[in-house]
Structures are given as C-alpha cells and as structure tokens.
C-alpha cells in the first residue's frame, strides 16, 4: 500500500495525472487485448445469433417446417425436382433413404432426416434449445450457488455446516447418474414436475434447464463459499458491521461485489459444461423432449442413418464442439484477466 502511495506521490510530483481505473475496467481491457478469447466470444455470439434466427431461416430461406413429417415432400437438386425419400438410396440400395446434403441453402442444405425434415433448419432450431438450456442452467446454477454460498459463508456455524454437508452429498453423487435419476422420474411421469401451484410439463425446456442447474450447484458453491469466508473477515466488512449495516446489506452490497469475480470466471466454463451435459442427456432421450429438438436429440435421430446419411449426426456435433470450445477458450481468457492465479476446475 505504502509503495503504491509513494508511486502515486512521485507521479504527482512530476505533474502527471494518474488515471483512476477500477479493477473491472483493467480486466475488461486485458480481455479485450486477448485476441483468441475475443475471437471465441465472436464465434459464440455468431452461433447464438444464427441459432436464434432459426425461424427466419426456416420460413424465409428454406421454406420448410422442421417439426412436421414430410415423407412425401420434394426438393430441387440441380434444377430438377426430386423426392425427399429416395428409394434404394443407401449403401445397401434397399428401402427408402432420405436425401443427402444438397449444399444449397434454399433446398435441404444438409439433407433430410428419417422423417423427411430439413436437417439444417433442425440444427438451427436445436441450437436454440441447446443454447437456451446451456446458458439458462449455467446462469441459474451460478445464482443459486452464489446465494447459498453467501448465506453459508456469512452466517457460518451450524448454517454453514448444514449447507456444506448437503452440497457434499450432491457433489459425491456422480453428475450423470443424478441427472439420469431425476430426469427419468420427471420426464417419464408424463405430467412433468408439480410442486404446489408450479407445474412444468415434461416437454418444457425448463425441466432439463432446472435439472442441469441443480446438479452443478456444488461445483460453483465450493469456490464461492471459500471466497465469501475470506472476504467476510476483511476490515471493510468489519467497518460495515460497526456502522450497523443489516445482514442483507452486508451480504449483498459488501460481500457479493467482492466474490462476483469468482462467479464470472466460472460462468463460461459452466456454460461449456452444461451444453455438453444437455447434449448427453438429450442423446440418452432424457433431456429435451419431442416436439422440441436440441443438438443432442438430433445426434440421437441421426444414429440410425449414421452410415448412409452421416451429416444428420455430424452437423449438430460440430456445432456443439465449436460452441463448447469457444466457451472454454473464453473461460481461460476471463480467468487470466480477472484472476491470474485462480486454479479452478470444473469437471466435464
């Protein structure tokens, strides 16, 4: 501290103006200079934009309904009208095979799936669900974990012991097994989740979002609680107590701003993790339910066509890899900018 003051004093002596920069601006500037991280962010935003433009693509460019069976439909290849389901189109030349990629954005760019639906449009729609669930569950998870961590770290004692042990139990439970247990129960019960007035139908995207948010709470809770514990003992917190600040004020306007950087570092990595988890659950058909589609469900649909029409399964996978990679790279960049010494680990 003294050194900083001396330096500032020296600068003042030389008549220079020391620009006041808050740590957030410094971090933002460092992140801005990290070209790889910025490129990843741009890629991610591009994927988000394209996915959310799915209805526009389906209705104005491709002119298809990606959720309706279209087994008798036709499309245009090289100016000729051809049926979507082609007789003997596969390697065995038996039965009907959907048309493969035409590489023409207006006419079944990536071909059709086994129901004759436009794969390209479905991948965009699927991206919308995957991103909504991924971003939504990561955000919900971080909010819940932060609030619980604030309560545990602030009150300490029995409250902390109870909450931390509860988190330990959820943490000890393997992620996929926990997700599978909850999902089977809620999704197969045909009427979804019902708690009091709250009723979420099984086909709602909220169900996978909440399930995924819940299972990752301990992964965010642990580092945040550790931080709350140290911050709550700092002098400024004591000063606030001495001024008679209420518990709520202490928690949310004194401690929270000082631990929020931990959460921000974790957020992109959590989005990467939740998108991967959503795709895995949907692949197991216990994530997003029909008629909705997500990248995971499309890969599942494409399993049967893998050897004849591989693009049905490959295209959504490439989207997942790009999105998750972008988030992982951005996460590294954010961590370097905010907290160079942080050693955080999120299991995929």
């Amino acid at each position: 501290m003294a050194a900083v003051l001396e330096e500032a004093g020296a600068a003042a002596d030389h008549g220079q103006v020391v620009a006041g920069r808050n740590p957030w601006a410094l971090a933002a500037r460092q992140l801005w200079r990290n070209r790889i991280a910025m490129a990843s962010l741009a890629l991610f935003l591009l994927i988000v934009a394209v996915s959310f433009a799915a209805p526009l693509y389906a209705s104005h460019v491709a002119h298809v309904d990606p959720f309706a069976n279209n087994l008798n439909g036709t499309t245009i290849v090289n100016g000729k009208r051809v049926p979507l389901m082609q007789v003997g189109g596969g390697t065995l030349h038996l039965g009907e095979t959907p048309i493969g990629p035409t590489w023409d954005v207006r006419n079944y760019f990536l071909g059709a799936d086994s129901q004759g639906r436009d794969v390209a449009a479905r991948v965009l729609y699927g991206g919308r669900s995957s991103l909504e669930i991924g971003i939504g569950s990561a955000a919900i998870c971080c909010v819940i974990a932060t609030v619980v961590a604030l309560i545990a770290g602030f009150f300490g004692g029995v409250v902390d012991a109870l909450l931390s042990r509860l988190m330990d139990v959820i943490w000890a439970f393997p992620v996929y097994l926990l997700a599978i247990s909850i999902s089977t129960e809620l999704l197969t019960a045909s009427n979804g989740l019902r708690i009091g007035p709250l009723n979420i139908v099984a086909t709602s995207l909220w169900l996978p979002t909440l399930i995924i948010a819940f299972i990752y709470v301990p992964y965010v809770y642990r580092p945040v609680r550790g931080h709350v514990l140290t911050v709550a003992r700092k002098e400024f917190a004591e000063a606030a107590i001495a001024q008679g600040a209420s518990n709520l004020r202490l928690m949310f306007s004194d401690i929270l701003p000082n631990v929020v950087s931990v959460v921000i570092v974790l957020l992109p990595l959590m989005i990467a993790t939740t998108i991967l988890t959503e795709s895995a659950l949907s692949f197991l058909s216990i994530g997003v339910q029909p008629p909705n589609a997500s990248w995971g469900t499309i890969i599942n649909d494409g399993q049967g066509l893998l050897y004849t029409r591989p693009w049905v399964a490959i295209a959504p996978g490439i989207m997942i890899v790009l999105t998750v990679l972008a988030m992982n790279v951005l996460g590294d960049g954010v961590r370097d900018a905010l907290d160079p010494r942080a050693k955080l680990r999120v299991e995929g």
């Binding site: 197969t188 991967l276 895995a280 197991l284 996978g317 790279v329």
Partner: protein, 323 residues
C-alpha cells in the same frame, strides 16, 4: 493417520446413507408421480400394480418403504425387473461389470500415458509455438462430446474406411469377453478405449502442465538445480514427481466415476454391454428397479473410490490429515 481413516470411513458411510435416501426420495417421493406405476413398466395389469404396492410397502409409512427397498437391493438382492419378466437386477449388474472394467482400464492406461507425455512436452516447450498448439489440441479434446466422437469413429472404422488396410481388422460393434477370445477382446476395445480417453487426455494434460509450471518456481527445484542435477533429473525426479500427487488423486476420482457408470455414453455408442449400457437399456424400457439399483451401486463405487483416494492422499501428504 488412524483417526483420519476412521473419520473418513464414517463420513463415507454417512454419504452412502444420504445417497440412498436421495435416490429413494427421487424415485418414490417425487410430487405427482405414482411409484407403483413407475416400477411396473409399460401397461401394467391391476394385479401387478397391487402386487407392487404390497411388495414395496407403498401403503405403509415412509421409513418402512425405505427399509424394504434397501433390503431388496443389499440384503436379499431379489429386486426384480418388471419390464423384463422378473429378471433379478443385482446379479445382472454383477454380470455386466467385467465389460465396464475392461473398457475403463484400457482407456485409463492410454490417457495416463498420453496425458503425461503431452503435459510434460507442453511445459518443457513453453515459450515455443508447440506449447499453445498442444494446449489447443487438449482444449478441443475437452470440448468434444464423447458420444458424438464415438459415432464419428464408428463411421470411419465401421463404414467409410472399414475396407481399407487401416481398419479392416476391427470387428463389428460389441464386446467379446477376454476369457472367450483375448484377441477379439482387444481388437474390439481399441477404438472405444481411444474414444473414451480423449476427454481425459485433454483434461489431464492441461492440469499437469499447469502444475509442472507452478512447481518449477518452487525453492526446492532451485535447490535441485543448484546441486548441479541435470535438467532431465530435475524434471523427472523432482518436478514431475510432485505434480503426480494431484494427478493421482484426480485419476482416482475419474476412474471411480467411469467404473460407477460414467462410461455409459461410450458403452452405448460401441454396443459394449457394461453397467452403463444396462442403465441405458433400463432407461429406454422405463425399468425403474434397474435404474435405481445401477445408480445406487454406481454411486457407492464412486464414494468408495473417493474415500480410498483421500486416504492414499493423506498417506502421501501429512498436511491433509489435520485438515
């Protein structure tokens, strides 16, 4: 050390109890769900429903229901699957275990060897262009969904390039027990091993590199160099050896998770009938008793693996015992 072990074992038992309770609550007490209907599978007759209600004590108080369920899973082991004509669940899980173990062991060997190679190479080559390159490869490995990678591998090895000399030796999808035909066992598992290990190679290479770079700044490394030890010896005997402490404890946890059912995506894609595959089959049949049992057994295995890792860690690093 002994008090640490006792404390750890007691905590493990408590966690196991909590997990069974959690699973029980999820499967029997979810609001708006009738557990008897869930257990019965698809289209049960009223008689079957009646029998299930009686068998699982669904008309009796909560603790009795819980005790009955635990008895069926652990003591009498006669939990039966209703969708599968009364097949006993627990022996089924035991029969599926060797396939899962074969898959996870092989993948573990690959990922440990390759990850150490990549991590050390990246740390040694820091400052050159190869370090970021290796780390990008690692990051890509972390970002690939394992089930999709498996499908791409299948597409290449089973279909598109199967008839070339590269992959013609790969047998059709499925698992051959080692006792039946060791060669076929090996050939059939090579691709699943590689697929499963990719994620962990990426992850461990990153962790190892970070840990190596951090340890390089420690005082005892400077001392080792000052003693005049060769760079190679410093790296192998001092830096790498200490990095291994984190590496080994992470390995124990991940290995436990995979054996406990975490390998299910790989098992499904490659048609390996292990524990994870069993869970998946019961998911598609809505076979609740099997899901419940595989989840509880899997979770138990993982909790046990965690406890063993912690005890081994405490043995290696005395500071942990006091925490």
């Amino acid at each position: 050390m002994l008090t640490f072990i006792i404390r750890r074992v007691l905590w493990t038992l408590l966690v196991m109890f909590a997990i069974t309770l959690l699973v029980f609550v999820i499967f029997f007490k979810t609001p708006g769900v009738d557990p008897a209907r869930q257990i019965a599978g698809r289209n049960p007759s009223p008689q079957v429903m009646q029998e299930i209600r009686h068998q699982f004590g669904l008309d009796r108080p909560f603790p009795v229901q819980y005790a009955l369920m635990m008895k069926k899973i652990f003591v009498t082991r006669d939990l039966v699957s209703y969708s599968n004509q009364g097949e006993r669940v627990v022996p089924e899980i035991a029969a599926a275990t060797p396939a899962t173990l074969s898959l996870v062991f092989g993948a573990a060997v690959i990922w440990v060897v390759v990850a150490i190679g990549m991590g050390v190479a990246a740390a040694v080559l820091k400052g050159t262009v190869l370090d970021p390159l290796l780390m990008i490869v690692a990051l890509i490995g972390i970002s690939i969904p394992v089930f999709w990678l498996g499908e791409v591998v299948n597409l290449i090895t089973q279909s598109r390039y199967h008839d070339t000399f590269l992959f013609s030796w790969i047998p059709p999808l499925g698992y051959t027990p080692f006792s039946q035909n060791p060669l076929l066992w090996f050939q059939g598992l090579v691709m699943p091993w590689i697929t499963l290990s990719v994620l962990y190679i990426g992850f461990y290479a990153r962790v190892l590199r970070a840990s190596l770079l951090e340890i390089q700044n420690e005082d005892y490394i400077r001392t080792a160099r000052a003693k005049g030890l060769s760079e190679r010896r410093v790296l192998l005997r001092h830096t790498l050896r200490n990095s291994m402490i984190t590496f080994v404890s992470l390995f124990g946890l991940d290995f436990g998770v995979l054996v406990g059912g975490g390998a299910l995506l790989t098992e499904i894609v490659f048609g390996i009938h292990g524990v994870g595959f069993l869970t998946y089959q019961s998911l598609t049949n809505l076979d609740l008793p099997v899901i419940m049992a595989t989840v509880i057994y899997g979770a138990f295995f993982i909790v046990l693996a965690n406890a063993l890792v912690d005890i081994a860690y405490a043995r290696l690093d005395p500071r942990v015992r006091l925490a």
